[in-house]
Amino acid sequence: MSEPSGERAEQARREPRVVLVTGGARGIGLACARAFVAAGDRVAVTYRTKPPEDDDVLAVSCDVTSTAEVDGAFDEVEERLGRVGVVVANAGANRDGLVLKMSDDAFDEVLDTNLTGAFRVARRAARSMVRARSGRLIFVSSVVGLTGSAGQVNYAASKAGLVGLARSLARELAPRGVTANVVAPGPVATDMTDALPEARRAELAAAVPLGRFATVEEVAAAVTFLASPEAAAITGAVLPVDGGLGMGH
C-alpha cells in the first residue's frame, strides 16, 4: 500500500521548509540562501551590519555573539515564516595574526562568533526540531580547521571546533530524526579573496589539486544537498568543497 519511494521523495522535495542561514547577507551565506529559494523553500537570513539586497529572503538583524539576539531572531522567523526546519550556521569572522602577537581579544572574539555563535544557534534550533522529530543542522567550517593555517590559530581552532560540535549534536539528536553535518570549504572566490593581491591568489589556487578556488554556488550546492530529504541517512559528516586541498583528513 506504500507509494513508490520516488513519489514520496518528490513530495518531500516539493514540501517547502523554512530555512535560516546565519551570516547570509553576502558570500557563501547569501549563495546558500539563494539556492534554497530556488528550490522553493522559505528562507530567512541573519545579518550583523548590512542586510542583503534580495527581496526573496527575510532579513533579520542578529549578532550571534548574543543569546538574546539569537533567540529573538528565531522568534521573529518562526512568527513570520513558521517552524525552522533547516539551519545553516555560517556566520563567521576572522582576525588573522601570528600567535606571538595575537591578543586575548582577537582569539576570544573569533571563537565567540564562529564557534559559540554556532552553538547558540544550534541550541535554539534544536528546540523545535526535537519536538517536530525532524531537522537539518549544517555548519560551515573550513579546510583550515583540519589542516591548520599559519596566522589563523583563532579561526582554525573555531572551525575545527565546529566538527566536534556537529558530531555531538548528531549523536544527541539522532533519536529525533535531526541530522547535523559540516561543510568544509577551501579557498572560495568571494569579496574577501578578490581583495587579495593577484600573486597571493595565484599561489593559493596553485596549492589546490583542482587548481582553482571554489565558487560560492559550489559550496551552496553541498549545503543544500545535506539539507535535502535525499541526505536523510547522512549525519556527522564533514563534506569538503576544497578542490582536494584538505585530502587525508
Binding site: R127, V130, R131, E172, L173, P175, R176
Partner: protein, 80 residues
Amino acid sequence: MADDTLEKFKQCTVEVLQVDPEQVTMEARFGDDLDADSLDLVELVMALEEAFDIEVPEEDLEGVETVGQAYELVQSKLPS
C-alpha cells in the same frame, strides 16, 4: 485547582513520553517504567515549562526520578 494541575501535568507526560495515561502513576520511574531517555526528559521539562508558564533550571532536575517527584517540582514552581 490541584486537580487541574494534575490533569494538565499528566496530559503533558502522556503526550511527550507517548505512554498510556494509566502508566502515569506517582511512583512510576521515568527511566525504568516509562522508558524515557534523557532527551525525553528534556522535552518533558520544556513542555511543562510552556504549559505552566514556569521555569525549571537544570539544577532542579537533579534527583528527579519519578513522576511524583516531577509533579512536586512543578507544584513548587507555581505561584501560590
